[in-house]
């Protein structure tokens, strides 16, 4: 296959530019086409990715590699983008004439994520990450008339740039102690060294801190709630699902292929971060009165659960990371899709807007409840299977206390997830119905079916994740 294996990346670049150009060329009335072009294009690229399954190649002496691991994350990012394009629908009217640029930036952010997941070199990783992050700076500030959106954009810019700089400094220290930026070469050089240099330790810590910012782990989580609340809801959904999964993908690849735990024991560091994140995220979520902000804190807690798998540092845990990242796409975007539709209709994402939703839109209320139960980890929803993998991985590597914290905090999380359901089913209802466009209906059904099927029959996804993980060893 050779360079044809890079077709999805190239096609995505072309698609982004074409959508951008179409927006400039077409007259105002014709701009609706750009959305369709973006959606059909993304679907086509997803098909290409499926068609490439089983092929592997390394490019430019290990700088960029396509393997089962990259395939897994390509599928994840492209399907997330596709579902978000479908569910955004009417919300985009808020962007008035700037819709085609929105699609284009979302596509470039997706490209950045894909590059992060497949890069085998710190330079490529950095450039991919910045492509994703800079697109997100613009996307979070996309509601020009809304002061909160502008504020979210600026806050994300400052904290995101700070975190990139911290990470870059860490990368420079790793380069200083190993003399290379290619993961495989870094691994070989470091393995040959007898003594671990303090410089390298500092580099690893700064690198993990930079990633922790992107993943929103406590104590690097302060940006997340504000930005999730202020940014346009479809962007928030993508930020919560995509950028998090991309950072996890890159972190997992670096930690396993360049800095294996056998030499530098980072598992305890990650385990402590995970514990603090799970506890803080869940406890603060209890006090929230705005659904977007609630989902922000819940997604901080979810990142903590995923980190448990990384801290476990065995096949079971890593498999859990990939498995959870994938089911998180369906469950979390499902919840955000309902929030988007309600916000489009009522103009608010406070709890009051969701009051009595079950009478106004029974399907939306049901999907929201199922997605939230999945996030809380109640069987037979997907979240249960994911948490099962993550926590059993932690127990296998001796982090029993971490699994306990995860279990107890999952129980706590049921309270605030069900609180939203209680409001939707028992709360007072205004008589306005919530319109659901056809495409959004499809997106909601995909999320619902995905959440249920992964939960009831986790075998195929679990195998897919396992094949992807094998590549790293």
């Amino acid at each position: 296959m050779g360079y044809l294996l890079l077709a999805p990346e190239m096609l995505l670049t072309v698609l982004g530019i074409v959508v951008l150009a179409l927006g400039l060329i077409l007259p105002q009335r014709g701009k609706k086409v750009t959305g369709a072009v973006a959606m059909i294009g993304t679907l086509g690229i997803l098909v290409v990715v499926f068609w490439q399954f089983g092929y592997e190649a390394e490019f430019f002496q290990g700088v960029y590699g396509i393997d089962a691991y990259s395939h897994f994350f390509r599928v994840l990012f492209l399907s997330a983008a596709l579902i978000i394009f479908a569910m955004a629908g009417n919300y985009l009217h808020l962007f008035s004439e700037r819709q085609s640029e929105w699609y284009s930036l979302m596509l470039f952010a997706t490209l950045g994520m894909i590059i992060m997941a497949s890069s085998g070199d710190l330079i490529t990783l950095y450039v991919g990450m910045e492509l994703m992050t800079i697109s997100f700076y613009i996307l979070s500030a996309y509601l020009l008339d809304d002061g909160r959106s502008a504020e979210a954009g600026l806050k994300y810019l400052i904290l995101g740039a700070l975190s990139s700089a911290v990470m870059l400094f860490g990368i420079s220290l790793i380069y200083a102690s190993s003399g290379s930026t290619v993961f495989a070469v870094v691994y070989q050089t470091l393995q040959a060294q007898v003594v671990t240099q303090p410089v390298l330790i500092a580099g690893i810590i700064l690198l993990i801190a930079g990633f922790a910012f992107k993943i929103a782990l406590v104590p690097f989580h302060m940006w997340a709630p504000d930005i999730y609340q202020g940014a346009p809801t479809p962007v928030t959904a993508y930020l919560a699902v995509g950028s998090k999964a991309a950072a996890f993908a890159a972190l997992l690849r670096i930690l396993v292929t360049a800095l294996p735990a056998a030499h530098y024991n980072w598992t305890m560091l990650l385990a402590i971060l995970a514990a603090v994140t799970i506890i803080t995220g869940n406890l603060i979520a209890l006090a929230q009165r705005n659904v977007k902000r609630l989902l922000a804190y819940s997604s901080i807690a979810q990142a903590g659960y995923i980190l448990v798998g990384l801290a476990a540092s065995n096949v079971y845990g890593f498999k859990g990371v990939l498995f959870y990242a994938m089911l998180y796409v369906f469950s979390n975007i499902g919840a955000f899709a309902v929030a988007t539709l309600v916000e489009t209709q009522s103009g608010s994402s406070d709890f009051d807007a969701f009051s009595g939703l079950a009478k106004r839109a029974p399907m939306l209320a049901a999907i929201m409840t199922i997605c939230m139960l999945s996030l809380a980890g109640i069987p037979p929803m997907a979240g249960f299977a994911g948490k099962f993998y993550l926590f059993s991985g932690a127990i296998q590597s001796g982090y029993l206390w971490l699994a306990f914290i995860g279990l107890i905090m999952s129980m706590v999380s049921v309270y605030y997830y069900l609180n939203v359901s209680r409001l939707m089913y028992i709360g007072k209802s205004s008589e306005q119905s919530v319109p659901v466009p056809a495409m959004a209906r499809v997106a909601l059904l995909v999320c619902l079916v995905g959440t249920l099927i992964i939960g009831i029959y986790p075998q195929p996804l679990s195998q897919f994740a396992e094949i992807a993980i094998q590549v790293l060893y």
Partner: protein, 102 residues
């Protein structure tokens, strides 16, 4: 004789000054400038390491060029965002941007 250590110490000092600036400055543009200092600190490290440890491969210099390009893009977007928020708040003081809290 000036060696690698001097450059690394210079880079670390610059990085520290940058972090101090980000945390203490209240003006959004000054914060962006401090972030640039941090990026340049990393650049000094890259180029110095390239020169002293691996002069045969230009990885470090290459990285520095990539960082400069990305930093330029970041600043372009950053200034645009600051302009856009200035229209709402008529201020670039970070203390004024408090529509969302806790």
């Amino acid at each position: 004789m000036i060696g690698l250590n001097h450059y690394l110490i210079l880079g670390t000092c610059l990085f520290g000054i940058g972090i101090y600036g980000v945390l203490s400055k209240r003006n959004a543009i000054a914060v962006l400038m401090s972030v640039e200092l941090m990026l340049n600190a990393a650049n000094i490290n890259f180029v110095a390491v390239n020169h002293f440890i691996r002069p045969d491969q230009a990885i470090g210099q290459l990285f520095a060029i990539f960082v400069i390009v990305v930093a330029a893009a970041e600043v372009a977007v950053g200034l645009a965002l600051i302009l856009s928020i200035y229209r709402h708040a008529s201020s670039t003081n970070l203390n004024d941007f408090n529509l969302m809290k806790w």
